[in-house]
């Protein structure tokens, strides 16, 4: 079953304006996940980070595209959407600060199955996919430290998906009364 | 006649009969060329379904041939097997089986007279409309019917497909008090039955007479239900197991039901009219008195529209006899006697509400049924109905189409045909062959 939560972060700067100062945080603050790593891996990853500001309503990645970068949300909120024939786009998950967008950048076939749209002014810390894959392949310390939080994020989404599939809040069946 | 030379009558899906059939007539220049009672009730192959079954299972299965007269099927079957196995049942078992049959007759006759046939005579589409103008009449009919159903329930657990009839007796016989509790409703039924005879005698019947060959059981001391010899107006006199010495089944292309004919290939008539004529001397005195009061015995014999009177007279009989049996009932120590199956041919005929019902089973060495023939009353009456239609149709061809159709439907309904039995009914079509 395709995960409903796979996301790709194809940095899609089309129409990107200048970095916005809107919102309640500084334009470039600490980066979740990365900041929690030991100094070595943290420095080697931080050096590769490219920060991006996304305006609300901007779809910065598209379902089916090759995932070109992995992003960590620094600020703002992002909707992951699927296009369902005859129903249009359906939001299946929203992500916030600390969430990862585009883990498929490091998992074959490196292709996104959802689109990602900013719902609020959003700041992303992005890592180029090819660059990151090479780093993980060559730097076992980065791999050992960085992959677990990525896995944790992915695992949480898989678990959440299962609960969504159960459709817990639906009024199922006919009750005894 | 007003319609010119050629007519085509068609009644699709006869109503107020049990089951599905239709009537088709083809008439040319006032002559009936074709009269067909088409039965398209889907066949259910009961004669094959009982193969490989034990006698008690057969009793349960054959009841499902007809929801109107399941007791009749149980009775013909149980007597056939007991005859072959030489089972001597307790006299109270014999009495209670008559009582069970009486109950079914009360229910079936009351249903037919009040809910199915009376609306015909009084010009209503159904008892529901009839009840709007004649509420008491319909209420009386429902009370009668309920008296029969309550008795069936007391003896067999439910009115339709009762469960207690077993080879050797009953699976359970009621306590005396259970039956005594039904006495008031049966006494009421008897009162209503006698009134019914007067009511139906007063109903106007179309003038139509013919001289039918009649067949029924006759017993020296009882009105025929479970026992007696098969007799006819032309001298047949047979054991109930020997039906097929005088009658035989035929298949016709327009019917899913087999028909039956007498040895000479001609039709014969079963049911209340036949029984009242052939076995009237065994009617309960109250029923004989009611019949005498009508003065209708001869018209019952000759006019099919008068069968409703015969049915009402029988209603008096079974109500009165039911009371007698209830009063004389003593619960036996055991409801059943032990028995052992033996191979051979088991055959018997009893009187269903609508006429003689013949069963014949071949029982194998394993005690199970290997082959079966079941000849329901409606399939035996089919040829008689068709003969009546052919005879009577020209008389109604002058009437407006709706009225003519109604008269012919009413004629068919006077046989109380049970079509799900026969294929196990009605569309009238009169085809203009011009």
């Amino acid at each position: 079953m395709p995960s409903a939560h796979r996301a790709s972060s194809a940095a899609a700067p089309a129409g990107d304006g200048p970095p916005s100062a809107a919102g309640d945080g500084p334009p470039s603050g600490p980066v979740p996940i990365i900041d929690a790593l030991p100094p070595g891996p943290r420095a080697r990853l931080a050096a590769r980070i490219v920060r991006r500001e996304i305006e609300p309503g901007t779809t910065f990645m598209h379902e089916g595209d090759v995932t070109s970068s992995l992003a960590i949300i620094v600020r703002g909120r992002v909707a992951l959407r699927l296009r369902v024939p005859e129903r249009g786009p359906v939001t299946i998950l929203t992500l916030e600060a600390g969430d990862i967008v585009g883990w498929s950048a490091i998992v074959a076939p490196y292709r996104a199955t959802t689109s990602a749209t900013a719902l609020e002014p959003t700041e992303l810390a992005t890592l180029d996919a090819v660059d990151l894959r090479e780093l993980l392949a060559s730097d076992t310390e980065v791999a050992a430290r960085f992959l677990p939080p990525v896995m944790e994020s992915v695992a949480a989404r898989v678990a959440a998906t299962r609960d969504q599939l159960l459709d817990l809040f639906r009024g199922a069946g006919v009750d005894a009364w | 006649m007003g319609h010119g030379g050629d007519l085509r009558f068609q009644v699709e899906n006869l109503t107020r009969v049990e089951g599905e059939g239709s009537l088709h007539l083809r008439v040319r220049d006032g002559i009936v060329e074709e009269a067909r009672l088409e039965i398209f009730e889907a066949p259910r192959y009961f004669e094959a379904l009982v193969v490989g079954r034990t006698p008690d299972e057969v009793i349960d299965i054959v009841a499902r041939i007809c929801g109107i007269c399941p007791v009749a099927y149980q009775m013909s079957a149980v007597h056939a097997f007991e005859d072959l196995f030489a089972v001597q049942v307790h006299p109270q078992v014999r009495a209670l089986r008559r009582l069970l049959y009486c109950a079914e007759w009360i229910e079936s006759h009351a249903l037919h007279i009040y809910l199915l046939h009376a609306p015909d005579f009084l010009g209503y589409p159904s008892a529901v409309e009839l009840a709007r103008d004649h509420r008491e009449l319909v209420d009386d009919g429902l009370r009668l019917k309920k008296a029969g159903n309550d008795l069936l329930t007391a003896l067999g657990g439910r009115p339709i497909h009762p469960v207690s009839v077993r080879v050797g007796g009953f699976s359970r016989m009621p306590a005396k008090a259970e039956l005594a509790a039904l006495r008031p409703s049966l006494a009421e039924a008897l009162r209503l039955s006698i009134a019914t005879v007067d009511i139906v005698t007063g109903l106007a019947a179309p003038a139509f007479e013919r001289e039918p060959r009649l067949v029924s059981l006759r017993h020296p001391t009882e009105y025929p239900l479970n026992d007696g010899r098969i007799v006819s107006t032309d001298g047949v006199d047979l054991r109930p197991s020997d039906w097929d010495e005088a009658f035989h089944e035929v298949q016709v292309p327009w019917s899913n039901a087999l028909q039956s004919r007498a040895g000479d290939g001609l039709p014969y008539l079963l049911g209340p009219s036949a029984r009242v004529v052939l076995a009237g001397e065994q009617l309960h005195p109250l029923a004989q008195a009611a019949l005498a009061r009508t003065g209708a015995l001869e018209s019952i014999r000759r006019n099919p529209y008068r069968s409703i009177v015969a049915r009402a007279v029988e209603l008096v009989h079974v109500s009165a006899e039911a009371l007698d049996i209830v009063d004389g009932y003593v619960k036996p120590d055991a409801p059943m006697v032990p028995w052992t199956a033996r191979p051979g041919v088991a055959a018997w005929a009893t009187e269903a509400p609508r006429g003689l019902l013949f069963h014949r089973y071949v029982v194998g060495d394993d005690g199970k049924v290997a082959a079966a023939t079941i000849v329901p009353p409606t399939s035996q009456n089919q040829a008689a109905i068709e003969a009546d239609l052919a005879t009577f149709a020209p008389a109604v061809l002058d009437l407006p189409m709706g009225e003519a159709t109604h008269r012919l439907e009413q004629l068919i309904r006077s046989y109380d045909p049970c079509i799900s039995c026969a294929t196990h009914f009605l569309d009238l079509s009169v085809e203009d062959a011009g």
Partner: protein
């Protein structure tokens, strides 16, 4: 195991002898004053209790041979004892039919000409009754029923009425069936409690003793000679032989702990292959007390009755709620039955639910033997030293009270549609009990012709309450379609609500999924009324879609406050929804600060509550400060009908609000 035997020599001292030919006189004395007398008779191949006018209908010369799946009448051998009338151990059904009939009228509901709904609790007028031929196990069972039906907080008025004027003539068993194990359970064969008159049958008559004044009056009226010592000794020897034949140790003495430690034992699956879930064991069990309401009405629906009928945990409908049955598999149902009888009954009522009569063994059509099953589950674990079993004593009979089951009238003041299938009814009531209700409590809501659903109170007002109802079935659909001015019957408030005080001085975390916000709304009201007494207040709401959110305006207003944090998420949404999408537990990580200082109130589907409790637990919220509310099938709401049991809990009475610490593993256990 050791069970204290009762020599009851003292009782024997005052014994009289009732010659066999004078048994008719005993029946006549009992029947004096119009008392109905019932006793064993032979009917339909079994021993059945029926009305007695004298002794002739007793099963003279019969015995009943029982083994797993069999109970056959047999003729007693020719000899001096061949005329005995009680020479069998247990009849097919005990005396339960008379004290706790299979069907009784429970409620009468009607709509008056002016539209007012009236609900009346039916209780029979006390009918004087004498039961002849009860056995020690029957009396132990009666004591158990007393504990359940009149010994708890709610009194069953029907039972109380039937128990009120009951004379019991017991018989000490002269034989034991192979299925009997009362000696193991400490309930027999000697009659030690509950009987007014105790008979021991000898070949030529009965040694009779009268433990109660009522029994003494009967003996006095009969004017009997004292029993000879030899007769008394024979009677004692006879019951001692019965005890010896039965032996003890039929089931492990530690059945209770063994069962609760083996809820996932493979034996349950093995039993389920044989068990046909026919419910016979529960219905012949003299202590089973579960019932359901059957609503009947005429075509116009203006008046209806409700019949209380024996029900069984072996049926699927027994544990049915919207969305399915909590015990879908026969395995779950058998486990519920056996654990209830031998384990959780102790927690609920302080006794064993099994009294050792063995009826469930004999009358199981496929012959499942609870003794064998218990021993199999216990395996080779040696039982600990036996503890004495508590005695089953008849409790003092309380007054007949319908209080726990009385309805009051309420009137619909307004109806607010919330979602496509959910509406909030504001009801006016002057029922002080309801107005004083607590957040999380619920009402049983009745209108004629419909089943009576439990509905949580979603807001309290000085002059009434609100009920927020989702149209999940016919009754709830009907309720959501009521209009202003409509009348209905309400009973409550029921159950244990949310312990809002537990959160005083602490952070408050409220998590609601779907309709689960309704029972939590009074908590929010209470916290905001007294906002200063609580620290941070955080509310997390989940819904299936944006359109299925409840109380949207209120939630928006809450979100606008600066002293409350509100986060809403939905399971799925279209692009027009700019809020959060995802499951409710994902909301927590975006908020810092929830931890050991928090009290959490959670309401939603059980799976969601369990997942939420885990996340909160991981964040450091103590499990005894995490509260959830459970949904179970409920018919009575006061712990009498048995439907809502979860392990040893009655969800209706002990809950529906529980802490996660209280529930332990049961919150997640399947089929419990």
């Amino acid at each position: 195991m050791v069970v204290a035997t009762q020599p009851h020599a003292a009782a024997v001292a005052g014994s009289r002898f009732l010659p066999r030919e004078r048994f008719d006189d005993l029946v006549a004395v009992l029947a004096g004053g119009g008392r109905r007398v019932v006793g064993p008779t032979v009917a339909d191949g079994a021993i059945v209790f029926a009305d007695l006018t004298d002794g002739t209908a007793l099963p003279a010369g019969w015995t009943l041979r029982t083994s797993p799946g069999r109970a056959r009448l047999e003729r007693l051998p020719e000899g001096p004892g061949s005329a005995r009338t009680f020479q069998y151990a247990v009849s097919g059904e005990g005396i339960k039919r008379f004290t706790f009939p299979s069907r009784v009228d429970a409620l009468a509901m009607e709509t008056d000409a002016d539209g007012t709904v009236r609900v009346r609790v039916e209780a029979p007028p006390p009918e004087p009754l004498a039961i002849v031929g009860a056995r020690a196990c029957d009396l132990a069972a009666l004591a158990v029923h007393d504990g359940v039906l009149v010994g708890g907080p709610a009194v069953d008025p029907d039972y109380a009425a039937r128990r009120r004027d009951l004379v019991i003539v017991a018989v000490e068993c002269a034989v034991a069936g192979s299925t009997c194990f009362c000696a193991t359970m400490g309930t027999g064969p000697e009659v030690t409690t509950g009987a007014d008159l105790v008979l021991a049958e000898l070949d030529d008559g009965f040694v009779a003793r009268a433990p109660t004044p009522a029994g003494e009056r009967v003996l006095a009226a009969l004017d009997l000679a004292p029993a000879l010592e030899e007769q008394s000794m024979r009677a004692l020897a006879q019951v001692a032989t019965t005890r010896a034949v039965m032996g003890t140790g039929a089931v492990p003495a530690n059945s209770r702990s063994v069962l609760m430690a083996n809820l996932d034992h493979p034996r349950w699956d093995a039993i389920a292959e044989r068990c046909i879930a026919c419910a016979n064991c529960t219905l012949v069990c003299p202590t089973c007390f579960c019932t359901g309401l059957e609503v009947t009405s005429g075509f116009d629906g203006r008046a209806s009755g409700a019949t209380r009928a024996w029900d069984s945990c072996f049926t699927e409908g027994f544990a049915q709620v919207a969305g399915g049955s909590f015990r879908p598999r026969p395995r779950d149902r058998y486990r519920q039955w056996l654990t209830h009888k031998f384990a959780t009954w102790w927690d609920q009522f302080g006794t064993s639910g099994c009294i050792g009569c063995g009826r469930c063994i004999a009358w199981c059509p496929v012959g499942i033997d609870v003794r064998a099953e218990l021993n199999a589950i216990a395996g080779d674990v040696p039982p600990p030293a036996a503890a004495p079993l508590p005695r089953h004593d008849i409790v003092a009979q309380p007054a007949i009270s319908t209080e726990a089951l009385e309805f009051s009238r309420a009137t619909v003041v307004s109806v607010t549609p919330e979602t496509a299938d959910t509406a909030t009814l504001r009801l006016a009531t002057d029922d002080a009990r309801i107005l004083a209700g607590q957040p999380g409590q619920f009402l049983m809501v009745g209108v004629p012709a419909f089943a009576i659903p439990p509905i949580s109170i979603s807001r309290f007002h000085p002059d009434g309450i609100e009920l927020t109802i989702r149209a999940a079935g016919a009754a709830t659909s009907f309720l959501t379609k009521l209009r202003k001015g409509a009348s209905l019957g309400v009973r409550g408030p029921l159950g244990r609500g949310w312990p809002v005080d537990d959160a005083i001085g602490r952070d408050v975390v409220i998590v609601a999924g779907g309709i689960g916000l309704a029972p939590l709304r009074p908590v929010i009201d209470a916290v905001l009324r007294d906002r200063a007494r609580f620290k941070d207040v955080r509310i997390y709401l989940g819904a299936r879609t944006p359109r299925e959110r409840l109380f949207v305006d209120e939630v928006d207003a809450l979100a606008a406050r600066d002293d409350v944090l509100v986060r809403t998420t939905v399971d799925r949404a279209g692009p027009e929804w700019l809020g959060r999408v995802g499951i409710v537990t994902q909301l927590f990580k975006t908020v810092q600060g929830t931890g050991a200082d928090a009290t959490a109130f959670i309401c939603g589907p059980e799976r969601m509550m369990a997942a939420t409790a885990d996340v909160l637990g991981d964040l450091g919220v103590p499990r005894d400060h995490i509260w959830v509310t459970l949904e179970r099938h409920m018919e009575c709401g006061v712990g009498l009908c048995g439907h809502c049991q979860l392990g040893s809990r009655f969800v209706c009475r002990d809950g529906p609000v529980f802490s996660v610490a209280e529930l332990g593993a049961d919150l997640r256990r399947e089929g419990l």
